[in-house]
Symmetry: C2
Subunit: 334 residues, 2 copies
């Protein structure tokens, strides 16, 4: 049992507006610390200085990320030397999370975005397989034209990083009759995959893959894992989908592989430099479908995220293990 | 046991080229009747007249439909007064099938197109929910722009006609976390639906539906089932998908409901008049995504179709019940 009051809780103000009542039901009286959308840190409407002892736990809700308030929020968390921060993201590669971890603050990540990521992956592959651009051109032409298309049924998928996101992708692809190979370091079996393979053993699966999905965490070991050698190992004409982090993939090598015909198509929701600079060749490449890091932004995100924070707050209060706790070793030693 | 020889089998020539070897293994010697792609009816390269007693069974493979040879093929079937015709389509509303039925010829339909129909439905709904046109405009604009989107997870679907096609739709939508209500006359339960409702009880489900899918057979009872009253009963902004037959839906009423805002979007793979005339308002309607009756034309269609014919041919030879036999009463009395 941890004994904290409402005054120990730090939230982005819109999150307090949504779930303040539920938090109030869980905690003794007090007033939360809020980061307002105008950037002020307040309690009871009065500005507060972020310093040690001012708060204990924080909810870095996804709207803070979308609104561009996340860096200020995390800087406050560090200055207050909190006990626990619930991230609103799946990845904690923003360097501020490493700083929180180095300061001994417990981090938990979120899986609230994974269903919509699975939906975006399926939408992208279906539009490509079903010749979306040609199909729309046929409608615009007013000429009745039969366009046969490729099915996901019977296609072979390789999903790198078979955690929460990978499972959402695998589950949907298998419902369409695809064969799914999940790649992960922990091996084992998984009901959302036909087979699980260790990273070292991925090569034979790649040579048969129709679709490759990247959803591994970014680390020194995975940075540019999709490079020229990787593309050369793939079945010719394969489709690659990146919903992990932009730096999982070497963009120059991808463009060369698309231009040579070795790769058939790329679906990118993340890129190495975000926002993508206007002069990047990715924008207008005919074989790339780009979205602007929106895969997590489904309309169910906020409700699932708030529910996760409330669940973990309950666990925190009772002293139970938090869901999706970050292994401190993830950040390495340097 | 039916005793027929290879000479009793009538096929579209491309089908013979694909599976002639397998048919030859099942039957005693002889030469099949073939409809060539140039329209000639031949045996052993020699023209033949279609008359009673010339053949016994036929495989109206889907490529005959796509190539526009199906009417000639079915006319030959009728002239030959065959015993059994395996259709390559799910629907037998082409009037020639009624004529075959009236002549006492056993008909079987096909379910080989159902997986790709399920894929087309999901592609259409995902593209609409994920704001496909805006997403593509963002990429073309070179401006990094966050476009949140709607999820299938948590949406409510009503599928009219919960047979082979409806099940493929329901199975995939449920894998995305949708709630699926199947509507069918036979009632019962189905693992691909959260609940099954009789047609008379559809109204409450319609009032909550985010997505309505039409895949019922066309009959006097279902003609224009989606009419002005139907659209008015739907939840405002609902999406309708027609992968059944064009005449299930009153097109003028649909356009009025889209224009009034009552309906949010329509995905039409079938229309009342096919090919759709160039001056139809459907082509350029901003809330309609049109495909040209291609939902069955996935790349797995031919292999699944040929496999169905071979399976039913085996059943025919052994005297077993044929799969997907058409209930003669389907055609009614007039």
């Amino acid at each position: 049992m941890k004994d904290i009051s409402l005054s120990d809780v730090f939230l982005y103000a819109p999150a307090w507006n949504r779930i303040g009542g539920q938090i109030r039901d869980m905690l003794s009286s007090g007033s939360p610390l809020l980061l307002e959308t105008d950037g002020r840190l307040i309690r009871n409407g009065v500005p507060v200085a972020a310093r040690p002892g001012v708060g204990r736990v924080a909810w870095a809700s996804p709207d803070a990320y979308v609104d561009g308030a996340i860096n200020a929020f995390l800087d406050h968390c560090r200055a207050m030397q909190l006990d626990w921060v619930q991230a609103g993201s799946a990845g904690v590669d923003n360097p501020r999370f490493a700083a929180l971890n180095a300061a001994g603050i417990q981090l938990t990540t979120s899986d609230a975005m994974v269903p919509s990521i699975g939906e975006l992956v399926m939408a992208g592959v279906l539009d490509h397989f079903q010749r979306g651009p040609e199909r729309r051109a046929v409608q615009a032409s007013r000429q009745w034209t039969l366009l046969p298309f490729r099915e996901i049924a019977g296609s072979r998928w390789v999903v790198f990083g078979f955690g929460a996101i990978g499972r959402e992708v695998g589950h949907r692809a298998r419902a369409f009759g695809a064969h799914v190979t999940g790649i992960r370091r922990s091996g084992g079996e998984d009901p959302a995959a036909d087979c699980i393979v260790l990273p070292d053993g991925a090569l034979p699966a790649l040579a048969q893959a129709d679709v490759v999905v990247l959803c591994a965490p970014l680390s020194p070991a995975t940075r540019h894992m999709a490079n020229a050698a990787f593309f050369a190992a793939l079945k010719s004409g394969a489709v690659i989908v990146n919903v992990g982090r932009g730096d999982l993939l070497d963009e120059a090598a991808l463009i060369a592989a698309l231009d040579s015909g070795q790769m058939g198509h790329a679906i990118l929701d993340v890129v190495s430099t975000e926002p993508l600079p206007p002069d990047s060749p990715i924008w207008a490449h005919p074989k790339i479908a780009l979205t602007c890091h929106v895969a997590g932004l489904g309309n169910g995100l906020i409700a699932r995220s708030d529910a996760l924070f409330l669940e973990n707050l309950g666990r925190y209060l009772s002293g139970a293990q938090l869901r999706l706790a970050v292994d401190q070793r993830l950040f390495g030693s340097g």
